[in-house]
Symmetry: C2
Subunit: 512 residues, 2 copies
Amino acid sequence: MLPLQLQPESHIPLYIQLRDQLRSLVDSGELRPGDRIPASRELAGQLGVHRTTIANAYADLESEGLIQGHVGRGTFICGDAPVRQISAAPRAMVASGLRWEALFADERGDDSLARLMPEVPENGIAFVTARPSGEYFPLEDFRRCCNAVLKTDGRRILQLGSSEGYEPLKSALVDLLRSEGTNVPLDQLLITDGCQQSLDLLCKAFLRPGDCVAIENPAYPGAIALLSAARVRCLAVPVETGAEGNGPLGMDVSSLESVLVQNRVKMILVTPDFQNPTGTTMPVASRRKLLDLAARHQIPVVEDHIYARLRLRGVNVPSLASMDRGGVVIQIDSFSKAAFPGLRVGWVVAPKNVIERLRMVKQITDLHTDQLAQATLAEFVKRGFLARHLARMKKVYLGCLNALEMALARHMPDDVTWTRPEGGMSVWVTLPPGVDAAELLIHVRERGVLFVPGRHFYLQGPQPNTLRLGFAGLDEKRIDRGVATLGQLLKAELRKRQHGARRFEPARVALV
Amino acid sequence: MLPLQLQPESHIPLYIQLRDQLRSLVDSGELRPGDRIPASRELAGQLGVHRTTIANAYADLESEGLIQGHVGRGTFICGDAPVRQISAAPRAMVASGLRWEALFADERGDDSLARLMPEVPENGIAFVTARPSGEYFPLEDFRRCCNAVLKTDGRRILQLGSSEGYEPLKSALVDLLRSEGTNVPLDQLLITDGCQQSLDLLCKAFLRPGDCVAIENPAYPGAIALLSAARVRCLAVPVETGAEGNGPLGMDVSSLESVLVQNRVKMILVTPDFQNPTGTTMPVASRRKLLDLAARHQIPVVEDHIYARLRLRGVNVPSLASMDRGGVVIQIDSFSKAAFPGLRVGWVVAPKNVIERLRMVKQITDLHTDQLAQATLAEFVKRGFLARHLARMKKVYLGCLNALEMALARHMPDDVTWTRPEGGMSVWVTLPPGVDAAELLIHVRERGVLFVPGRHFYLQGPQPNTLRLGFAGLDEKRIDRGVATLGQLLKAELRKRQHGARRFEPARVALV
């Protein structure tokens, strides 16, 4: 029997675990050319998983040329399997002399973030992104700003700059924040390459290997990946998504309290507004409780404010930073959800001594943030283009969100639930218990529809029956078509289950 | 007696150590308003340092309003010293509730990199930079490239991009490297935010706290600061600067060998061409020995190639990467010494599996590098503007280097020596033994001349009588004037010493 071990609790889909383990067996020589591998039904029985899981793994390996099926005989390891290595591009410059894999600082091999951004097929409907829609980028406005700053300040922009940020951008942000109701002095502001880098800098400034951070579960995978790589222990605090129909939404502050009582937590990381992936917003009472807890335990709260400017409906809730009386909040923010994520510019608002420490860390990390992007964005803000663009995009995204909700109501079976975000870019869908969104994805992908299975966002205890639908990049018609496909395949699967058939086969439905 | 402890071996100038320790005593309450502190002569005697050191520390503290001298009575801690804290800008948004200093992951308080980039006075002559001269930036060419890429590819550029880099830039770099004689496949290339970030990514991918890295001594302070912050042990390998007039220049490979034999070294970091700060170039025989050593010990060699395109005279020496038969070299490189350091774009060339690992690390660090900068630089390379600009700048810099060498020969006392770089941006000067460049700086700064004392570049065993002169940002006349000032003040000091006077007083010489 093959030495295979699948972990149902992992956020990595079972078929990928299986595929990768089989590939390793070939690479290590345990499986050799000509060896027969079990039929999918047989292996499914051995491993106690659905036969589709095996079939999907085999399909990937066959397309890689690693295995081949022979009618009536079975499936075999291919004779020319080692070609995979030999056929790699000749290393003109560098022979691979060292055993590099053994030299890496850790064994991180899982690239879950990359898998969240799969190739979108031509004419596909990809509910996968949490990024702004590119078709509305005000390119001409942007180009005018870019030209203007290069003309007036080109020499300074292109010269080595300051680690704290390009001064005109800092000033523009101070004005922007003041217009939004918060008064931030220049020395409480640091420019970064975006929220991902802000997290990296905070991690370097505050955390050591083994330290504990309390974080939402599910959460933004980029935060989990960053903290895990730094060998920081992430402690999961459940996010209430309203699926149970009661209690406040967002990070569950009572659970947070138990986590803080039981562990020496060094930082709390939270996205109170339109959390990715659930789209939930913490009510003001929870925010107050969270701040009280943090102040009592003397723990910094990192508020991820990246989606907050994308409120599409409902009433504004004050940010943690603006409610902070205990002086515990560090707020990270960015332009990239409002406009132009290809420019890597974000910022941190924090007490002056924290900013000074982060500035030092920033300096040794990458000296400073690109100044052409900073200068152009400063001009874009100052001329009022950002406000105008945001207003426009909020209309567009509200249209998308409405369309998505209508489509879900129209096409989804009764026992599917979803969150009702007041902003942001994604809706969190809970399928009936027992349905694996990762398996569903395999089938809808064949019809050109993509989404991200919920398991990728979980720190622990992944719910395989959840998924995230990002709506920001799509027009209303495609949203309806995509959700229709999703609903049809899901209903077909549920029918099969009702009829006792455990096998998941794509339903023969035409795209509407 | 005050609890003061100065470390002459530190790279931090004595007067700064003293100033900071006195400030801490006030902050901690050990020195209180009204307390008298010793006269400079008295304290100099107690601490066994020059009286100028005390005077400089006191001058800084006086300008901060922390101490005040009263004629005939002495020097006292000011009554309103605590005002320093109270008068800080009111924290409109964030009260400083947490004891943040206690929460930081380490006690790093020394910001030596920032001190390397002091404010340049109006009309000052600053030999401090290792950055390209901004006045020659081909701004119009740049702006044309920027407009062109925004017009043809704006929507892609401004959208979220790939962690490995913007494809057109990668292709342009492959072509550039091929034209320079190295054949690098696309998958052996990763775009980063510059060499500082490349080092950060390498550190994350390969090093754990406590690991050892062999590094030149003296070296680029940004590398030392980065590794120290990551709690990596830096092992110093001496750089031969030719001051002794014999042996090959650059990293001393025999010393490297002893370091490798005696320690479990995880990485060798070396700048073979025009090393910062010494300007030295390793001869080909040393490079071969280094590569053999690394291959024998199975240690990755990180080749900092950032200055290599700035060869101003002499014969090209092949890069470590191009000589690498053992497959041990990772080369880091950047545009920022050739042009536009305000754009943060660099790259890494390495075996495919190293690049893939670094790409994953890059992704969790800041997702990807700014795409407007990448696209514009790609266009700038493709149109031949980079080659043209480089050719022009090499002429300009050669003029600067020649002027600097002539000025040194003209104005420096006989027992001063300096390196003869064949490229790069800086010359390394060794003053007569016993002269402290940090003290000399205090005096030449009063005349508007700046340089960086050599001690800032040392990992250990700082030579206080060394200094770095960066020549790239200055015109030939100012170079001569600056070196003349340096020479005059140095000669005055040496005369004083000869006459037995140990006290350093600025000579009354007019600027020539």
